[in-house]
Amino acid sequence: MTLLDIRDLTIRTADGRVLVDRLSLTVSPGERLGLIGESGSGKSLTTLAVLGLLPEGMTATGSVELAGTQIVEASEKQLNGVRGRDAAIVFQEPLTALDPLMRVGRQLAEPLRRRRGLRGTELKRAVTQALEQVRLPEPGRIARAFPHQISGGQRQRAALALALACEPKLLIADEPTTALDVSVQAEMLDLVDTLVREREMAVLFVSHDLAVVARITDRAVVMKDGRAVERGDVREIVRHPRQEYTKALVGSARRLESALDVRSAR
């Protein structure tokens, strides 16, 4: 049984330009899949299509089945049933993911109240728990804060807490650490890794950074210009890339990294 089954997904703009071209991939329950690609590869659009969140004017054809629900051409009502419960998403920029005019705690309380039917003190405790789960210090203070009053790393943790609030079966992470500092990125990756393991969640992890993807996932799909050019075990892709593009990608990453090794070899 697969949790996410994408078959021949094609995404077009209003004027017929193809941005994602006959993409197929599957994610089983508890499995971690990486989606690697540079800008313009269509990887982010693919994640949006999984939740029926494509920008206006864009159309998807093919099949996206998420926990048994066909997402392509699903009604908004059907989609609302799926979002959050079956899959939730964390974006690159936490500042846009959180409502700037609402305190973090209230944003977190809303899905908890609706999905789990919690009220009053129980709800309050659940919010605190949710913030503690993502290892936020002083959950009480964070809950009372507005998004701009906490740091970028804390915001991304809050966004993660929001995504996890409804205990989704699939966590979609779209460049969740790209906007963060390296040391914050490392903590965030550890956190995602642990939380996903604890809850046996499946992950669709999107990034341009091979090393980051390899840190989280087992399998990966490499995308270029809307197409999947290579797929397989992440370690295998990094060690023995087969396609020209993947070779260039891995080569570039290796070149930069080797500079670090030569310097620090002393």
């Binding site: 800008s39 939730a88 460049e175």
Partner: protein, 306 residues
């Protein structure tokens, strides 16, 4: 919407990893198409406004009758002798319409030029101003915007006299505050761009930065706004003339024509309808031009090569 955070997220990654393959041919074809479609708006606007400008231009060299010729039958119906009939003093309506269009165009141009001159200078100045000067300028602009144009016009007329120039000065001053506020915001936005810092570190002086980078980059938005202000100025002048604060007789302003025809509207509607229709045509025309300019002046749509 629950665990899903739907926002104004761009379809592809933004910020940290902008594209290496951004300018795709298909995209440029699309915007070129859009540019062409939009320029119909511009053409339509130019035709409408051009009609009035043509009337105004012809009025300098030829008029059917002298503007103060009262020899016609009073309130004559439209016919052979008088194309649109005459007013209650026996003056030819079409003649008045022509001189009126001249006044309308002059009022629009004069006000907008005044507003542009004062507004852009003040706006650029206040964008650069710091501390108390910034506060003072901001307060001054706020007061000017809140000040009723009508009261301003009355004061100016009282200080000078009821002429077209007074009306234009009043309208131009009132509009300059709006323009200045817009320019201030636009300039501040441009000044925050890295290319301004790059220019500074290239040794470019502030005056050259303003002339070479700031003004060209605020120009499209500014021109569109000035075109809209032109339409507003024409309307404002008509209102002032209606109240007797505009160009004095024998110059027939559309506003005064409306006022004079008010009493006889039921018996001789042409006297009020004709200037009203022209007023609407001119304002619509100018607004269409503003709309069309908005898109043709966009640098990313213009001169794009696939």
């Amino acid at each position: 919407m629950t665990g899903v955070q739907k926002t104004g997220q761009a379809p592809e990654e933004t910020g940290r990893t902008p594209g290496t393959s951004s300018a795709t041919p298909a995209k440029s074809v699309e915007s070129a198409k859009q540019g062409a479609r939009r320029s119909y708006t511009l053409i339509a606007g130019c035709v409408l406004a051009g009609l009035i400008v043509l009337l105004a231009a012809v009025s300098f060299v030829w008029l059917p009758y002298a503007p103060d010729d009262t020899s016609g039958t009073r309130l004559a119906a439209p016919g052979a002798g008088h194309l649109l009939g005459t007013d209650k003093l026996g003056r030819d309506l079409f003649t008045q319409l022509m001189t009126g269009s001249r006044i309308a165009v002059e009022a629009g141009l004069g006000s907008v030029l005044t507003a542009a001159l004062i507004g852009v200078s003040l706006g650029v100045l206040s964008a650069f101003a710091l501390g108390w000067l910034d506060d003072t300028l901001a307060a001054f602009l706020d007061i000017l915007i809140a000040f009723p144009t009508l009261l301003l016009a009355m004061l100016i007329v009282a200080a000078r006299s009821a002429t077209l120039g007074s009306a234009v000065l009043a309208i131009g001053l009132a509009q300059s505050a709006v323009v200045a506020r817009l320019v201030r915001i636009l300039v501040k936005r441009v000044l925050a761009q890295d290319y301004i810092t790059a220019a500074r570190t290239s040794g470019t002086s502030w005056p050259r930065v303003v002339a070479g980078h700031v003004l060209p980059n605020i120009w499209p938005t500014l021109v569109v706004n000035l075109a809209l202000q032109f339409g507003l100025a024409v309307l404002a002048e008509a209102s002032l003339s209606y109240l007797g604060l505009g160009a004095p007789p024998p110059n027939a302003s559309w506003g005064r024509m409306l006022q004079e025809a008010q009493a006889t509207f039921t018996t001789a509607p042409a006297g009020a309808l004709a200037p009203g229709v022209l007023l609407v045509l001119l304002v619509i025309g100018v607004n269409l031009i503003a709309d069309g300019l908005r898109d043709t002046l966009d640098p990313t749509a213009r001169r794009r090569r696939a």
